[in-house]
């Protein structure tokens, strides 16, 4: 029965792009810096190209993209942009070296040639936008193709933070978005979909329009929402909370039943570095005979076996197209059933953006095919969260229940025996910064010290460290970063309070490496942290804002 496009049911795809802030100019090459570079080659640049193609085709498809402030900061960082070109050089040199010196079968040679073309394409795309990925997304957002959302300034897991920290994290994240993209975002992504009552209240007070919660956050809401997760709820008149649809999400997320586990897809865990002679590794070799992952993979998943066969890009492309058709069919049938029960159903499908391309190499292909297929069938529309609310503003009142999309659905991933030591230390560090900000008669240098302390505190609060400590992947790096930032908070605060003499150029060193927040954002962070008792100098703040627009 659907006729006009307004009456079509909605599929709202939400891609959440986030990486912790990592920059190590002091190291010749850093394993962790490569997280960004791998994501750029495999995910961010293909997604940008896909969206640009949608715009060129005048497609009606729209989706929501969350760019975390730490990721935006890294994307705009000239130093990291330079290092990305070095990374591409190293990879291309490695491929050429292997082609020249390793004995390979013709199919292996063809696969390496395919990787080389992929790397060249990434370089061309990156150069075409002058390295400014954030600017490119901003232009696409202005064209209405994509809705940009932000999140907490360093992606802190909010339900475990004190109210003042939640306010500081969210307010600073939104301010950073405003400085970079020109306007405050209507929606805010809650890190790890983590919410509880005080997070809801703070979102409302900050004037946030909408956010996304895990499905049981809505289903256990009080009072019970009659539309399940297929319509947002409104805990307050101005704030809408969307719920994730578990069935559609599982189709992509699940490693066993989901699409990414198909045997034709590229095997993520078989790196080229493990298949070639050690003397060919060059800069990818590590002391002790170990190696860094190269991101070049030649094998396909094949099945539950250690004997992995060679990857076949064309077959993988066909499988991805088949999966896209299945996905669109599933959504169409589900939405058709929902439309017989509700006039305005919406399926919200949030995913980590890095899934599409990094963890699941064929993800961007799948997305593009799904967009084209969905548009062609015309049974539903791909829309943004803001677009849906624009068409359907009123919704049932309900207060979501505390929840997250982590293991078990609550806070266990970020608070368990592996990482619980973190919580008291983070609260102590926040208290320390609050005390330092309360020192009377602060002069300019003390303000600079405080801003840097705010950066260090925010970085320590990132949810990524607790996640890594829990999963034991990169746990040593997480521990080292935490100790580093917490020590810096102590030293900087002691200098503010005049209890430690100025030693060397600690402030300049830390600011050069970790001073990712512009002065205006750091001031706002401090104000919210101290419940508005800290007052930045208005003149200094304005100047800093202007300076940030030019060169954050």
């Amino acid at each position: 029965m659907p006729t006009s496009s307004k009456q079509l049911p909605t599929l709202a795809l939400v891609l959440h792009a986030h990486l912790p802030l990592v920059r190590h100019p002091e190291l010749e090459s850093s394993l962790e810096e490569a997280w960004l570079f791998e994501a750029l080659v495999e995910c961010y640049l293909p997604l940008l190209a896909l969206t640009t193609r949608l715009q060129q085709r005048r497609s009606t498809v729209r989706f929501t993209l969350v760019l975390s402030p730490t990721l935006v900061s890294m994307l705009r960082d000239k130093y990291l942009q330079g290092r990305f070109y070095d990374y591409l050089d190293q990879l291309q040199a490695l491929c050429r070296r292997v082609l020249r010196r390793q004995r390979l079968t013709p199919r292996q040679r063809r696969l390496l040639g395919w990787h080389l073309r992929r790397l060249r394409l990434a370089r061309r795309r990156f150069s075409a936008i002058d390295g400014d990925l954030a600017g490119a997304w901003s232009r696409l957002a202005a064209g209405g193709r994509v809705e940009l959302m932000t999140t907490a300034i360093t992606h802190a897991y909010l339900p475990l933070c004190q109210a003042s920290v939640v306010r500081a994290q969210l307010a600073a994240g939104r301010e950073m978005h405003r400085l970079v993209f020109g306007s405050l975002p209507a929606g805010v992504w809650l890190p790890e979909c983590g919410l509880d009552d005080h997070v809801m209240d703070i979102l409302h007070r900050l004037g946030v329009g909408h956010t996304v919660a895990e499905s049981h956050g809505l289903l256990l809401g009080v009072p019970r929402p009659p539309c399940g997760v297929f319509a947002p709820i409104r805990p307050f008149a101005e704030l809408a909370v969307f719920g994730r649809d578990p069935a559609v999400s599982r189709q992509v997320w699940s490693t066993r039943k989901g699409y990414p586990g198909h045997g034709e897809y590229l095997e993520f865990h078989r790196d080229l570095a493990g298949e070639i002679a050690p003397d060919l590794l060059g800069s990818f070799a590590l002391p002790g005979g170990d190696h860094r992952p190269t991101g070049i993979r030649l094998r396909r998943i094949t099945g539950c076996t250690e004997q992995k066969r060679l990857y076949r890009p064309e077959q993988a492309r066909l499988v991805a197209a088949g999966h896209a058709r299945h996905f669109v069919g599933l959504c169409r049938r589900r939405l058709a059933r929902l439309q017989s029960l509700l006039p305005s159903p919406v399926i919200v499908a949030p995913y980590d953006a890095e899934l599409f391309g990094h963890w699941w190499h064929e993800g961007p292909l799948f997305l593009e095919q799904a967009f084209m297929e969905g548009e062609h069938q015309g049974a539903f529309r791909f829309d943004t969260l803001a677009g849906y609310l624009e068409r359907w503003p009123p919704h049932f009142h309900s207060r979501p229940s505390p929840s997250s999309w982590g293991q078990g659905g609550y806070h266990h991933t970020w608070l368990n025996e592996n990482n619980d030591w973190l919580l008291p230390r983070l609260r102590d560090a926040a208290d320390r910064v609050r005390r330092a900000a309360g020192v009377a008669g602060i002069h300019t240098r003390q303000r600079r010290l405080l801003r840097q302390a705010a950066c260090e505190l925010a970085l320590a609060q990132s949810s990524d460290w607790a996640f890594m400590l829990n999963s034991s992947s990169s746990a040593a790096y997480a521990r080292q970063r935490l100790e580093d930032h917490l020590t810096a908070v102590t030293k900087l605060c002691l200098q503010v309070e005049g209890r430690q003499r100025r030693r060397g150029n600690l402030l300049d060193q830390r600011k050069a490496q970790w001073g990712f927040m512009p002065a205006a954002v750091a001031d706002l962070f401090l104000q919210e942290l101290t419940e508005r008792t800290y007052r930045p100098e208005p003149a200094a703040a304005t100047t800093a804002t202007e300076r940030c627009r030019e060169n954050p």
């Binding site: 475990l160 399940g228 008149a237 069935a247 919704h395 266990h412 008291p424």
Partner: protein, 292 residues
């Protein structure tokens, strides 16, 4: 003649007497802590201390005399409170005492009620109101049936927990609406070095409070610290269904685009579609095992 007692002497003594975190205390603070602990020492130990401090004429003194003289001597050693930390400590103690007075202040009797009744009611409460100066006890709900508690104890409070015969105890009580006190739902005997604990509770969607204290030889619990009250998330859907529709200001008039009220049957179907893990009784949600 009085001997000059060094920090090292005091540290040795503090450790020998089982005081907590002696190495973190200043000389003055350590002197005061030792003075407080005198009563629990034997006469032999006190006489030995008097000898080391160079206090003569106490070899045949009674314990009361020994304690009084040694306490004077140790407090004199501590000197007046002048350091920044001590000033801060004094300010904290003063503020905390004020707060405590406010908390424990007897409420003004309401008209028509005799003061005697108020007193009887106060006598009836079982939990001793802990001193707010003892430290901090924090608690966060981790899951519907799990709480995480951590605490920071001031040295004097830590010493109380470490007293011979005392058993450090962490207790969680569930608070019911309209009822004084609460039911103890979890209790754990703590090792002295413990600073945090994960505790399982008995009900989701309930209000809890944690208490940290010690159990004496008669099995009585003495609370030292009390947390704020926290609520754990519910594990079953609410019995009430929402029928209020909200819209942002300026768009409230767009009634043509309301989501519509699904019938109770339709609503049930929507709930089932939303949560495929909902069991037959509709009361238990199967939560995601992970996001990936």
């Amino acid at each position: 003649m009085k001997k000059k007692i060094t920090m090292n002497d005091l540290l040795q003594l503090g450790r020998a007497w089982g005081l907590q975190r002696v190495s973190r205390l200043r000389k003055s603070e350590l002197g005061r802590e030792l003075a407080k602990a005198l009563r629990s020492r034997t006469v032999k130990e006190l006489t030995e201390l008097a000898r080391r401090l160079g206090l003569g004429g106490l070899s045949k003194a009674r314990k009361d005399e020994l304690v009084a003289t040694l306490a004077r001597s140790l407090r004199a050693l501590a000197g007046p409170v002048t350091s920044r930390a001590s000033k801060l400590q004094r300010a904290v103690v003063k503020k905390a005492d004020k707060l405590r007075r406010q908390v424990t202040a007897r409420p003004k009797p309401r008209r028509g009620r005799t003061p005697g009744k108020t007193r009887r009611k106060r006598r009836g409460t079982t939990e001793e109101i802990p001193a707010v100066t003892a430290g901090e006890l924090e608690v966060v709900p981790r899951e519907p049936l799990w709480l995480y508690c951590w605490w920071e104890l001031h040295p004097a409070a830590a010493a109380k927990l470490a007293k011979p015969g005392a058993v450090p105890l962490l207790r969680v009580v569930r608070l019911e609406e309209g009822q004084a006190g609460g039911h103890t739902v979890a209790q754990v005997e703590l090792p002295l070095h413990a600073r945090s604990w994960h505790l399982r509770v008995d009900q989701a969607g309930a209000r809890y409070q944690a208490l940290l204290g010690s159990k004496d030889s008669r099995g009585r619990f003495h609370a030292l610290l009390k947390s704020v009250v926290v609520s754990t998330p519910a594990a079953v859907p609410s019995s009430a269904t929402s029928n209020t529709v909200l819209a942002p200001s300026g768009q409230a008039g767009r009634q043509a685009t309301t989501p519509g009220h699904p019938t109770p049957t339709d609503s049930e179907v929507l709930q089932q579609l939303s949560a495929p893990g909902l069991d037959e009784t509709g009361t238990s949600l199967s939560l995601p095992t992970s996001r990936g």
